[in-house]
């Protein structure tokens, strides 16, 4: 039998190839005990190479392999951000007990696999790649959450994430099926044309399909009411994993969310924008009020993640290029602040015997600046106070919303932010304004991974410092980041206003 192999644009594909190579290499490393120690180096090398290749492909805008992938501004920008957060996570993972238990190489292999899935997802341009890439990044994450085998929470979070996640993907799959049925196509632009030509823009079949796809994605970016896994998983999973997934998952899912809804489903914006607006509102409220009175820092960040997802979703609702820009900017800012926060938490955990309770932060402001400052900056940024990137991000979102006459959603965001101040500021208050409690200092003996020197480890301090510095820097000189974000938006110029 004969078949004509598709033309392969290796340049465009290079980032994926690099990641795949890295992944395979990592698996090999895992196989041989004597070389395990180089695993982090391999991982970092892979990520850096990928980043380099992505930057090389900065201006690319081509479909790969019969348009099953599309490498363009959107893909490049989001992939870069994903790679950055992965890099941070890898650094934080060094010396993490979970890594040590499952074998560091395996751990990193899973992480790389996840990254690969994400990068692929940012480029996914038809339903099949969409689905497979989504699973490729989710399934390793399920495993990663469970990798701290000693802690019951870890396994529990893993299983919860897996089951709920699978329900989500099943729903997504069914929705895809319906859309495929309605449009008779799997490639995004083809779907758009299929739907319009078939006159099925507002057909029940299509709409239900869209609804189910929306649910599936909403789950991934933890939009209420599909968010409930988030706090549990954030808290239960090993902190480096949380640090990775909190930003990266959102980045990947939002990338495909943008591409699918603004390319494939662009003709029927009027049908879905209200749904998304309502979902955004719900998560803003639920996330913010849920975060109040949390005692676990990671858990609180989980809820705040829900709220932040709500803010970001607003960027899609407006269905304008500016909306995409704003969303991208916000995601980038969110990456920085989140990384800062989690890096600080990792350092703190390692010193304080894996307690991430907010109480254990009392008096840190005096005793441990390396934790206090990044965490403070992160909180201020998440709360959207100047002069941090968070402020500009909100500003950008507001502009996009007002431009598109979604002002009420902007007001919702403002209200949500007001509520959020309560818990963010409480953390800052605990850090700086309460006397140190002895509880925060005494470390459970023999706990693996406890490391009183953590605040001097370069691989922990560097992410914290860089990330928090970035949150401030882009608050004062946002223009570069704005242009960065606009690069993503421009990719869709031909599809949306």
């Amino acid at each position: 039998m004969t078949f004509d192999a598709p033309a392969i644009d290796y340049a465009g594909l290079s980032p994926i190839i690099a990641l795949t190579a890295g992944l395979v290499a990592m698996v090999l490393v895992a196989a041989f005990d004597q070389v395990r120690r180089i695993a982090p180096a391999v991982a970092l090398l892979t990520l850096v190479t990928t980043a380099g290749l992505l930057i090389w492909q900065w201006d690319a805008n081509v479909g790969l392999l019969n348009d099953s992938l599309q490498i363009d501004g959107l893909a490049v920008v989001f992939s870069l951000l994903i790679v950055i957060s992965a890099t941070g996570a890898v650094l934080l993972a060094i010396g993490d007990p979970s890594g040590d238990q499952v074998g560091r190489a395996d751990f990193l292999a899973l992480m790389l696999a996840s990254v690969l899935g994400m990068v692929m997802l940012t480029m996914a341009n038809n339903l099949v790649t969409f689905f497979i890439a989504l699973e490729l990044f989710s399934i390793p994450l399920y495993a990663l959450c469970g990798t701290n085998l000693r802690r019951r929470e870890s396994l529990e979070s893993g299983l919860k994430y897996l089951i709920i996640g699978s329900v989500g993907s099943a729903t997504l799959l069914y929705g895809m099926a319906l859309i495929y049925g309605a449009s008779a196509a799997t490639e995004f632009t083809a779907i758009a044309s299929g739907l319009t030509e078939g006159g099925l823009i507002s057909d029940s079949l299509t709409l239900v399909g869209v609804g189910m796809v929306a649910v599936g994605l909403a789950f991934k970016i933890s939009i209420a009411p599909f968010h409930q896994w988030t706090p549990d998983v954030y808290q239960g999973a090993p902190t480096p994993v949380t640090a990775f997934m909190s930003a990266a998952t959102k980045l990947a899912a939002f990338a495909v969310f943008i591409r699918f809804f603004l390319v494939a489903l662009e003709p029927m914006v009027a049908q879905w924008d209200v749904i998304l607006a309502v979902l955004a509102t719900i998560s803003i409220l639920v996330g913010n009020v849920g975060a109040i009175a949390q005692t676990s820092l990671k858990r609180m960040l989980g809820y705040s993640g829900v709220a932040q997802a709500g803010y970001m979703l607003a960027g899609i609702v407006v269905a304008t290029q500016q909306g995409v820009d704003a969303l991208t900017f916000y995601l980038a800012a969110y990456l920085a602040m989140n990384l800062a926060a989690f890096a600080a938490i990792v350092i703190h955990e390692r010193q304080a015997g894996f307690s991430d309770s907010i109480e254990s932060l009392r008096g840190i402001g005096r005793s441990n600046p390396v934790v206090a400052w990044p965490l403070t900056i992160a909180m201020l940024a998440l709360a959207g106070l100047p002069p941090t990137a968070g402020f500009i991000g909100k500003l950008y979102l507001f502009q996009a919303l007002v431009e598109a006459n979604w002002t009420w959603l902007g007001v919702m965001i403002a209200i949500g932010t007001m509520i959020s101040l309560v818990y963010y500021m409480r953390v800052v208050a605990t850090i700086w304004m309460s006397p140190a409690s002895d509880a925060s200092l005494q470390v459970p003996a023999g706990e693996p991974g406890v490391d009183l020197e953590a605040s001097r480890r370069w691989h922990l301090v560097i992410p914290a410092v860089i990330a928090s510095a970035a949150s401030i820097f882009f608050g004062i000189i946002p223009q570069p980041l704005v242009e960065f974000a606009q690069h993503a938006g421009n990719a869709l110029a031909s599809f949306i206003a």
Binding site: I163, S202, S204, V208, F226, Q228, A291, A293
Partner: protein, 670 residues
Amino acid sequence: MNAASWGWLVLLFPLLGSVLIGATFRVLPARTAGLIGIGAIVAAFVCGIAAVVSLQGEPAESRHVTDSLWQYASVGGLSIDLGIYVDPLSLFMVLVVTGVSSLIHIYSYSYMKSDAGYHRFFSYLNFFVFSMLLLVLAGNYVLLIVGWAFVGFASYALISFWYRRETATRAGMKAFVINVVGDIGLVLAAILIFRELGVIDYGAVFEKAPEVFTTTNEWTAVAICLLLLVGAFAKSAQMPFHTWLADAMEGPTPVSSLIHAATMVTAGVYLVGRSYPLFELAPAAADVAAIVGLVTLLVAGTIAIVVTDLKRIIAYSTMSQIGYMFVAVGIGAYSAGFFHLMTHAFFKALLFMAAGSVIAAMANIQNIDRMKGFYRAMPFTAAMLIIGALALSGFPGTSGWFSKDEIIDFASFRGGWYEIFAIGGYIGAFMTAIYSFRIIFRILPGPPCEEAAHLIETGHVVHGEPVNPATGEKEDVEVGYPGEDHHIAEQATGMKIGMSVLGFLALVGGLVQIPGVTEVITHFLEPTFEDSPLAAMHPSVSEAWKGLAKGAVISVVGIAFTWWLYIGRPSVPETLRRTFRPVYTLFVNKWYGDQIIDFLIVRPVKGLGRFADRVFEPFVINGLTGGTIAIVRSAGGAVRDLQSGMLRSYALLMAVGTVAILLYLLIRSL
């Protein structure tokens, strides 16, 4: 040098004196401070005379000079100059103020000797004189208000001069707050004037007023005048703003004599006289002034008859006398009013000084029931007291006789319902005679009380424990209240000079204004009131003399009656008191003025405060904040309950969400 420049100098000296003393109180020996104080005022007095001279040089119609240092404030057409307005009236006031002040300064030089707060006293006193002069020289209403408030402040500072006494501080607070109420009246008046006339300077205002208020008693004009009167009454302790004056006696005696008898309290009269063009356009308001004056003079008289605190008696008599002045300016007897203002300044200051010397001798006991036989103990003081009392009760020939009766004459001369002012005036005069000589007959004659006796024997006064006469509590000598060797009574030269000069003036001061003979005041003030129809008319000389005769009779009879009351039949007062118990209680409780104000104003305001503090803040204000927080928190609780940790319930919620969304979309697709 024209009158205006002299006027500025008049202002300058007291200010300099005050600042100088205040600034150098650490280094300056006490006496020098006193001398500086005196010097400043005397200099001001001299400049005042110079100003008069240079002003009299002018032709009558142009005897008013305005001069402005710089623009004080100017926005949106409302421009205020830092300017003065020099004319006979203001200069007249300047002379009275500076003149009396100089004497009182001299008196205080000895009286306050050995008071720990000596510098403070003279600094304040000079500042007061400065403020008073600013008040009378001010060239526009805003600056007037400034002076107005400054004298209020000075009076506050001096009333609570012995701030160790809670009674004193409370009295000071009372005086200040009531005066601020008056200030508000003035402020609103000024604003209203500006709104109606578009100007704020005296000259301009008086020019434009007739053009704007074409008909008499336009409500705006009346409103302006009434607001002015609020200020005037508050400052001059007229009803219903009179309650602060009696308490103001907490201050050192020279203060009572200067501020609360001679000068500040008469500012209200000056204000009305100064704004006469407005008042003549709103006769209704003028009548209000007169009526209030009348009521006050009667009420205050009744109180003065019954109270037993020496200084308070004189204080109430002051209120009563100011009542006369208000009647005068109210009915248009301007020159008479200001004449009485002058004479009153003389004899009332004198009375206070004498009283002060007695009180000193009594080791600060002010209750006249305890005083007896000071005639022999302190002949000089006694003489001064008698002179003062004579003048006050309008004994023929004394200054009070001429001035008071001129007012009453004018009232009866205007006739019509103005007669009641005449009648009331005579009644008041009778009462005046009674209370002034009540003092004399109670404390001078008879067997000396122990203090007096001690003074006679040792030639020196008792060294009583310094106590607060009001509460009887021990005094803290260091914060300024007389030290051990304070009781120099009348021996001190300073006091002698002060008293004797004033005594002389109280006796002969009236001669400047003998009807038909010397009408100096009238002529002097004429240019100010030249275009006032009321000022133009005079009772004929004969009528004037008739009136004086009546007055003479009343005062003599009154004095005689008083003699009979306290010397002839000492039992009578007691029987009277018993027979007219209710009336007596009413009088002795000062017609319950304090209680009424307390009930009407103080309590409601305090109640409001309590309400705001106890109810409004916790429930409403904090409710707004706490309430929102509570709502959010409870919502958070709900979310957390939903987050049961049960995986299947998570799935359930997802399913619910999905079903709901699909439902919406299905409906949407129809």
